[in-house]
């Protein structure tokens, strides 16, 4: 075997294999009714990747519609306050619609158009992915149906209204426990019944192959820009990357281009909710076991009998009982560290960010920031840490006020 072959197989960036596995994780655990559909998505995605027009189209809308590249910003006051490394924020919260989610919905809707699909479906928990999907559907004039758990519809009323303004139909899901996992089940059920017309835009690096790979690739725009920007600003790569993890798409997008730089410390932050030992959390790796759900094998919150347990987090966007399969593999190989942050710690970080940087972060990246606060002391001042500021906090002001016991 030549040395080139070896470097390819030794890479952390070569997954998944042909059958969609990252080690034992990932795969295509779906009913036969879905199989022809996902094989077709895969085939069309591979063809699109060979076509320069597809990338050009993505780049065009990324620049002129989403507002990319997003800045890589040196958070000087925060860095000084924490007294640790030089902290940079990758500011995907400045994207159109206020989070990284639109990077992925743009990529997938362009694929759906190439496949001549005439109807889009999506699942959403917090409503961020639902809004990002409804947005691109309005842009490209495609009907959009968003499945959302009944419980979440109550918690996230402003996003429900946004989706409706954008012309989407929001379908309440009452099955199961009426949360994100059930919304995903319901979207899959819709898909098998509407095979010919419909494209399913999954909102994170989960689902059956090729979704984890495809969503990661669309989100890798985050890491690729970060790489260029940090080289321009510092003339070197960072020492540490930190991102929050719901399903893991913003994290995969930041991490992936850097995985083979073994001296970069990479950390994924899960939501510990009220604390891992309370059982009320959303930390699939820290507090779950491997299992099979939504088309892939990965770490899941589940009972000993293999029944899926609902996640809990103050941040609706992290409230998913699974995690993308590539993260499970990166955990198992030890390449990425997975840690968890409680609701309480995230709220502290949320407030600190408002006060020191004038940035109201979403509660999701507030988890990442809380971990940055914890580990800042482990770094020297000339070291560089990049945190993904993957969403803004406008959507969260009500829950934060409530958690802080304030009326607005």
């Amino acid at each position: 075997m030549s040395s080139i072959d070896k470097s390819v197989t030794d890479s952390y960036r070569s997954g998944p294999d042909e059958t969609g596995h990252f080690g034992i994780y990932g795969g295509r655990f779906v009913a036969e009714t879905l199989m022809p559909l996902i094989l077709n998505v895969e085939k069309s995605y591979r063809a699109a990747c060979q076509d320069p027009n597809f990338q050009n189209e993505f780049d065009y809308y990324a620049e002129h519609y989403i507002g990319r590249p997003s800045p890589l910003y040196h958070a000087a006051r925060l860095s000084e306050h924490l007294g640790g490394p030089k902290i940079y924020f990758k500011r995907d919260e400045l994207n159109h619609t206020g989070a990284h989610k639109i990077n992925n919905t743009l990529g997938q809707i362009l694929l759906a158009r190439r496949m001549k699909k005439t109807r889009i479906i999506a699942e959403t928990g917090a409503g961020q992915h639902g809004v990002a999907t409804a947005t691109v559907c309005a842009l490209f004039d495609l009907p959009c149906v968003v499945y959302m758990g009944e419980t979440d519809i109550e918690r996230q009323a402003p996003n429900v209204f946004r989706m409706k303004l954008l012309g989407a139909e929001v379908v309440p899901v009452t099955s199961g426990t009426g949360t994100l996992k059930d919304a995903m089940n319901e979207a899959l059920r819709d898909w098998v019944a509407n095979v010919d017309t419909t494209f399913y835009i999954i909102g994170t690096v989960a689902g059956p192959h090729p979704y984890p790979e495809m969503v990661r690739n669309f989100q890798s725009v985050i890491g690729n820009e970060t790489r260029e920007q940090i080289l321009a600003a510092e003339n070197r790569l960072p020492d540490c990357l930190v991102a929050c993890i719901g399903g893991g798409s913003n994290a995969m997008g930041l991490f992936h281009p850097f995985l083979d730089h073994s001296d970069i410390r990479i950390i994924g932050v899960e939501a510990a909710g009220l604390g891992i030992d309370t059982g009320k959390h959303a930390a699939s790796i820290t507090g779950g076991q491997p299992g099979v759900l939504h088309g892939n094998r990965t770490f899941l919150l589940q009972t000993d009998d293999g029944q899926i347990i609902d996640a809990h987090s103050i941040s609706a966007g992290l409230d998913y009982p699974g995690i993308g399969p590539e993260h499970s593999w990166l955990h198992e190989t030890g390449r990425v560290e997975y840690v968890s942050i409680t609701d309480h710690e995230a709220l502290e970080a949320f407030q600190l960010c408002c006060q020191t940087e004038g940035i109201i972060p979403a509660l999701e990246p507030a988890h990442a920031l809380a971990h940055v606060m914890k580990i800042a002391g482990e770094f020297d001042q000339d070291q560089i840490l990049v945190m993904n500021m993957c969403g803004r906090g406008d959507k969260d002001v009500f829950s934060v006020a409530e958690a802080l016991g304030q009326q607005i």
Binding site: F29, G176, D182
Partner: protein, 279 residues
């Protein structure tokens, strides 16, 4: 080796007996433990006397992604009342104490089995007296997970063939399948749409070009008349949601089974059976 072992089983004998009588198989689905263990046991144990030829027991799962509202709800009822995979195997054991002929197929999703341990699960299926498995979210691409261990242990592996299974996929889908083929007559999830008899006729004809196995048709069959018309074109029919809905209809406001639940369900099953055998 396994193929040979699987040539004389409760399932093959069942279809052979029916073929001799020129009769069709009535396959009934119930969720194990719905609405509770005891009632479920009475329901299942009474099925053969009510005219069922082959029993499918659903292993309850929190996230039954290929099922419609009726079977989702039945899974939830069973789980709420403490049903587990281990107890589903108990149901099979209890059934086998009094019936050593009626085939039992366990139907479910992979995660509970994966947690239980695939090898341990197939061993216990064999000792409990189950005859085959339908695991909805294990396509041929993932056969190494459970299908191959199951075949080695002497269990039939039954797969769903759907209207979207095109010619390029059908060989892969039928690979490793034995006992019978389960044709899903509608696109979508269980219980939501009606199967059309003329579609079924064409689909079964097409399938016969690829397999000599008996073909059972399911998804969307609700009435004795409907069962009869579909059975005309196939070797058997499967009814699930309509039975499970009847379980729900016979629960009181607290979700407890009413007095007549078991007899009502068995009476409905008897009517379907009459429809099928008149076919």
């Amino acid at each position: 080796m396994s193929a040979e072992r699987l040539s004389d089983t409760r399932i093959t004998r069942c279809f052979a007996r029916l073929a001799e009588r020129k009769s069709k198989a009535f396959v009934a689905f119930l969720t194990g433990g719905d609405p509770n263990f005891e009632t479920s046991q009475q329901l299942i144990c009474g099925l053969p006397a009510a005219g069922v030829d082959l029993i499918e027991i659903g292993i309850p799962f929190s996230d039954p992604m290929a099922d419609g509202p009726a079977i989702q709800a039945s899974s939830q009822r069973a789980l709420r009342n403490g049903m587990t995979l281990a107890k589903t195997l108990d149901l099979v054991r209890i059934f086998r104490q009094t019936d050593n002929d009626t085939p039992i197929v366990l139907m479910g999703y992979y995660n509970p089995i994966y947690r239980y341990g695939a090898d341990r699960f197939v061993q216990e299926c064999v000792t409990a007296g189950a005859d085959g498995l339908i695991i909805v979210d294990l396509p041929p691409e993932e056969d190494a997970e459970l299908c191959e261990p199951a075949l080695t242990a002497g269990l039939h592996w039954i797969r769903l063939v759907t209207p979207s299974t095109d010619d390029s996929r059908i060989d892969a889908v039928l690979h490793n399948v034995s006992g019978f083929v389960y044709y899903i007559s509608v696109l979508g999830v269980t219980g939501t749409r009606l199967a059309m008899a003329d579609h079924v006729e064409q689909a079964v004809e097409r399938l016969r070009q690829y397999t000599d196995l008996p073909i059972a048709v399911g998804f969307g069959i609700k009435t004795p008349e409907h069962a009869r018309s579909v059975a005309e074109h196939a070797d058997g029919i499967v009814i699930g949601s309509a039975i499970v809905d009847l379980v729900k209809l016979n629960l009181d406001d607290q979700g407890h089974p009413k007095e007549a639940l078991v007899s009502e369900v068995h009476e409905f099953v008897r009517q379907i059976a009459a429809g099928v055998s008149n076919g």
